[in-house]
Symmetry: C2
Subunit: 365 residues, 2 copies
């Protein structure tokens, strides 16, 4: 039986609750003998700061480097609002992304038919929606230097962030988008602000060249990032794969996620480059939703985004494609059966708890 | 009779058509003797490039500096896609904003009751929507240096944009937002990415201080820009005034505009600082929509956003508040009467032309 190392980083807020449901599935895999997942657990975010004074320890980073995949819950909460910038909960996540080299963030926005009415958009605009945002995750304004606040002689402060992209960084994320489009509906929309930003000009140029030289059979369109935000609201189904930079990806993927009406349902995968020697790639899987401190600890959280992130791990890190399909089908069946947490239950319906939903999904398997 | 200088910059695409309707209103003002507007006209954008090889000439800039207000149509189109970066049509608009010091961009997103069904959002979420995005317009990543593409020794290229904000720039835009909130529903939401960007940290700090020292009576909330994008889709009516930086403002105001379902209806004002000696401020007014090359020259464009921009000029540049109210009422009456251009006519309805709608609004006055 194949055996893999999984590092679980539940984090803060509802993170531990939704991660507990994935642990049930891990147990199911071991029991059925399909695959064995050796799990380790560590701290990240606010809880790591409380325990160690940093958002993630070097030891946890070493474990993440050694793992076959990392499952990440969520970080942050008002409790840590006053923590120094370099130790804020998000710093743990950003360090993981950067040091594991997770440059490709795949964020599907799928509208489950059973939940189409939960969207703020009219049903016909989102029913059957299935798009993926491919967000560059280790470059751009998130990591460029200088990145600082200086106090001028006048006493005024001056803050700087630097948005930086190289040919290579754009090439590799473009390839991820084109490869994905090939097994989907064969269309890539590349979003930037070439009319204002030099990084947008280079982005446009490189994506155009990769398309021409390597993927001429895939349809490519260029769209300004502001217009892309508009078009997502106007008619999201016009898209298949959207590829964009770190900051635009942050906003556009959140807008896209909200369109589906099922934020608690959306998983994501952050992938590194394939190691040519081993064929392996580093990977981290996390739900799109945050730590939701307001409902933490109450057993109300929807575990489906976290479970879906595990399904993405099965697919992208362990090539357990059949099992990933099976798990996604199990989730859909449970939804169709009407068992739902509060966020998607609809008015007047008796909502199920986090554990009930997790148990039902394991039973379906 | 008070007399004012207006510089008209119709620009490209549908710009000249919608500007023509404003000229009818200018004529109406002169005829009624309420105010005399001396108008001059000049080129900006692609048409300026075709005539002079630049997106705006120095002579046109001098006229803009001398005018009491500038009315701007729209710029750009596929015809100029290959023009060098520094001469692209948008460069004309950016030069106007920067050299006139138009740091405060006010973008109302209003959902006209008669048009609520045109929104992609469910009616109850947008009916009666009335929010304003206050976007910083002369700083941030739009103008920070370095802003360049360099070719490295390896042959790779490296592109850089610089996001830069000083205390002073944030203070003055924060004040505009708080002042506006005071005459509206008394709430400001400040959007940034303080969890990732140093400019976001400074933004948050300065807005908090201006609030505490100068506007403690206004409600202030801080929201992460990605979450703001989500919340605009989920429940836009939670907002009153949103204040944000140049780049976030670009995207968030487009998302907000699209929520209303009436892009062809939304005006904007870009304002400079008040000159302490004269009490005057530089100002430019423009519709939120673009140049729409696909329908240009066909008499199909909706002139209401451009006319609404003229109403904002009456209000903010000429203190003709009663007349601004009157003009906005005239627009609403024409809409209620059912006369509509194609973009808002709804299926199966006979759409009116640009000129018909403009004439009807003048008649209402
Ligand atoms: C938590 C935060 C640093 C992060 C980001 O900005 O990337 C989050 O918003 C996301 O989208 O994963
Ligand atoms: C035309 C372009 C330069 C401009 C911008 O990015 O500011 C436009 O999108 C806007 O929002 O006014």
């Amino acid at each position: 039986m194949a055996s893999y190392n999984l590092l679980l980083l539940p984090g803060d807020g509802i993170g531990p609750e939704v991660m507990a449901e994935v642990e049930k599935l891990v147990g199911w895999f071991t029991k059925t003998g399909i695959a064995r997942f050796e799990t380790e657990k560590d701290l990240v975010g606010g809880c790591a700061y409380d325990a160690h004074g940093v958002a993630i320890t070097d030891a946890a980073m070493d474990r993440a480097q050694a793992a076959d995949a990392v499952l990440f819950g969520a970080v942050g909460g008002p409790k840590w609002d006053k923590v120094a910038y370099e130790h804020r909960p998000e710093a743990g996540l950003l360090r993981l992304r950067k040091e594991l080299g997770l440059f490709a963030n795949l964020r599907p926005a799928i509208c489950y038919p059973a939940l189409a009415d939960a969207s703020s958009l009219k049903r016909e605009l989102v029913e059957g929606l299935d798009i993926v945002i491919v967000r560059e995750l280790t470059g751009g304004v998130y990591f460029g230097e200088p990145k600082e606040i200086v106090t001028l002689e006048s006493g005024e402060k001056r803050a700087v962030d630097t948005q930086l992209y190289t040919t290579h960084e754009i090439e590799r994320i473009a390839r991820v988008a084109f490869e994905l489009a090939k097994v989907r509906r064969n269309k890539v929309s590349s979003a930037e602000k070439r009319n204002v930003m030099r990084t947008g000009v280079l982005w446009n140029e490189v994506v155009t060249r990769v398309h021409k030289n390597e993927y001429p059979g895939v349809e490519l369109e260029h769209v300004l990032a502001d217009n892309c935000g508009m078009q997502l609201v106007r008619n999201p189904k016009q898209y298949d794969v959207i590829v964009t930079d770190n900051l635009f990806g942050d906003i556009l993927s959140d807008v896209a996620a909200m369109l589906t009406g099922s934020l608690g349902m959306l998983p994501s995968a952050s992938l590194g480059a394939e190691d040519p020697a081993t064929g392996k790639r580093k990977a981290l899987y996390e739900p799109v939703h945050g730590s939701a401190p307001d409902i933490a600890g109450k057993g109300l959280a929807n575990p489906i985004a976290m479970i879906g992130s595990f399904a993405m791990a099965l697919r992208y890190s362990f090539s357990l494609v059949k099992e990933a399909d099976m798990l996604e089908k199990a989730v859909a069946n449970v939804l169709d059966g009407g068992l739902r947490t509060k966020d998607i239950a609809g008015p007047g319906v008796n909502a199920a708890g986090t554990g009930e939903v997790g148990d039902a999904i394991v039973r379906e398997m």
